[in-house]
């Protein structure tokens, strides 16, 4: 077998390990699942009336849930990033990681396995969030092709934020530290994007930030695909952000993992 197929095989082994971990740490896995659903309920039933009224005619089909559901779906990706960061950080403190480093296995496979596990976990959560949103009255106008494209963009974004989660897990020395770092993707960036209100209603500085950060083009792309709102150049920006964050996350994570040989 070639090195590449060994690397694939080791990553698959590490993925099985990660899936087992998710099942064994059930309370944590479930809370990762429930947080986005609670957020959705909160934004639709508690804040939805006022926020929707403020948005006025821009809300497609009139209901605020149509505006906010795509955003909550992508916030789910952000909380998935936090779960990955915490899981990885806890894992790195275990002796088993030291054992892996003394074995003739593909070095990055420990990380790749967690990223793949995170991708699966997050996508399952997203399907559930979409289901709950539909029950609550989310009415996308997308056909099958647009749905597949939307899920593709979401998966790309999940891949990117999973690698960033791995970086946070490695850089943050403790689970709490890892969680704090991932607040960037969990709260900071979604709240200052087009997730809940339109950027043109924000003060100039914040608006500028909102327009040039990753969540806005990704949310606008998914919103456009699902609801038929204009996408413009958001799709290109979204894919570029995903590719860039994935590459940076992968290289950064690999470098940190190889450097911190003993923790």
């Amino acid at each position: 077998m070639t090195n590449f197929s060994f690397a694939l095989r080791d990553s698959a082994t590490m993925l099985r390990r990660d899936v087992r971990h998710s099942l064994r740490r059930l309370s944590m896995t479930l809370s990762g699942l429930l947080t986005p659903i609670v957020t959705l309920v909160l934004f639709v039933y508690v804040f939805g009336g006022t926020l929707g009224a403020g948005l006025g005619g821009v809300v497609h089909g009139g209901a605020y849930i149509n505006y906010v559901a795509p955003a909550i779906i992508l916030m789910t990706v952000g909380s998935g990033c936090a779960t990955t960061a915490i899981n990885l950080c806890m894992d790195m403190s275990e002796g088993i990681i030291t054992r892996f480093r003394t074995m003739a296995i593909s070095r990055a496979s420990v990380l790749t396995g967690q990223v793949l596990g995170s991708l699966i976990r997050t996508m399952i959560t997203i399907v559930l969030v979409i289901g709950v949103a539909l029950l609550m009255g989310f009415r996308p106008s997308a056909g099958p092709v647009a749905w597949i494209a939307a899920l593709g963009v979401i998966a790309l974004f999940t891949l990117a934020l999973s690698w960033m989660g791995v970086v946070f897990g490695l850089v943050g020395k403790t689970p709490a530290g890892a969680n704090s770092l991932s607040l960037i993707f969990q709260l900071l960036l979604p709240l200052t994007s087009s997730a809940f209100v339109r950027p043109d209603s924000m003060p100039v500085g914040v608006r500028w930030f909102a327009e040039y950060q990753p969540f806005t083009p990704v949310i606008d792309t998914v919103r456009g695909l699902l609801l038929g709102t204009p996408i413009g150049n958001s799709a290109v920006l979204a894919v570029a952000w995903c590719a860039g964050l994935t590459l940076i996350g992968y290289l950064w994570a690999r470098a940190v993992y190889n450097r911190n040989s003993v923790r």
Partner: protein, 313 residues
């Protein structure tokens, strides 16, 4: 053939020198015990030889492969069981072994066969279905070593394999190690216990503050250690004073009311000593004979006592 060879191996963390020019040779199928107190550099040595960290100077070859140029080949030949448990706490004992089998790219059926054999060999068949959190210290250590053995390594590093184990588990672990050696495996083990080195090692290297201060077979090493001592404790200061006058140059502790007299441990010398005290009608409260321990080895070889113990000499 030498399975482990180091020449002038050095390691420092910042200004702190941990290893200072280590030369070691371990022949195939033998056990080398690296003996030393906490902080001597034993674990650092294992970390370097198992490719976990790099050295700052010197050279090392493991299984004939250079550590720096061919780390993958080194990793393929070695197994490591560290001082800190290296098991996956979210997997059962059996799943841990199967994980190792997968990572060694054994087939599914071969992996299952080997995991079952190891569980049986290490008396973990029932425990195999439960999580390591429910294990005793000895079981954990056995699972740890079983995981190391899944890949059939030719060289095994054991970093303090019995530290923290009860006597029974310690003896079980010793037997496991002997069986491995009988199977032709080369072992480098670190320990703080002279007895452990004595029981298991073909050669012993004494490490102190990053330097090798002695190397040899356990018997050679013991010959370099002065004999043990007799410890006498007295009921009061006058008894201590009288005994010290009678016996001349001996180590004395006025607070504890004790004297320490060097001895070769023979019955004749002990009887002679007691006779002298008896002649002067000196009452001894407590009498004990101490055989050489790691403390004595250290005192003899390094000129300073083991840092963790007292300095009553």
């Amino acid at each position: 053939m030498m399975m482990i060879e180091t020449r002038g191996l050095c390691k420092s963390f910042g200004d702190h020198v941990v290893l200072d020019g280590i030369d070691l040779d371990v022949a195939e199928g033998t056990v080398l015990a690296l003996l030393g107190p906490n902080g001597a550099g034993k674990t650092t040595m294992v970390q370097i030889l198992s490719t976990l960290i790099g050295a700052n100077g010197g050279e090392a070859r493991v299984a004939g492969h250079d550590l720096v140029r061919e780390p993958e080949a080194v990793r393929a030949a070695i197994g490591v069981t560290g001082q800190f448990s290296a098991v996956d706490n979210l997997l059962t004992g059996e799943e841990n072994l199967l994980l190792m089998a997968d990572l060694h790219h054994l087939g599914r059926s071969e992996g299952r066969r080997r995991a079952a054999a190891l569980l049986d060999r290490f008396d973990l068949v029932d425990a195999g279905k439960s999580m390591p959190a429910t294990y005793s210290g000895g079981m954990r250590r056995r699972l740890d070593l079983a995981m190391t053995l899944v890949g059939d390594p030719r060289i095994i590093f054991l970093d303090e394999p019995t530290t923290g184990l009860d006597p029974r588990s310690r003896h079980t672990m010793w037997q496991i190690i002997r069986d491995l050696v009988a199977g032709g495996v080369t072992i480098l083990l670190t320990t703080q216990y002279l007895e452990e080195a004595d029981q298991l090692a073909d050669r012993v290297a004494v490490l102190d503050r990053g330097k090798l201060v002695a190397q040899g077979t356990p018997d050679e090493l013991k010959r370099r250690i002065p004999g043990g001592h007799i410890r006498l404790q007295f009921a009061d200061a006058s008894g201590l004073e009288a005994a010290a006058r009678t016996l001349g140059e001996v180590a004395r502790d006025d607070n504890e009311l004790t004297l320490q007299i060097p001895t070769d441990g023979s019955v004749r010398s002990i009887k002679a000593l007691l006779d002298r005290l008896d002649d002067q009608s000196i009452d001894v409260n407590e009498f004990s004979v101490h055989t050489p321990d790691l403390d004595d080895v250290f005192f003899a070889l390094t000129g300073h006592p083991d840092t963790q113990k007292g300095n009553v000499r």
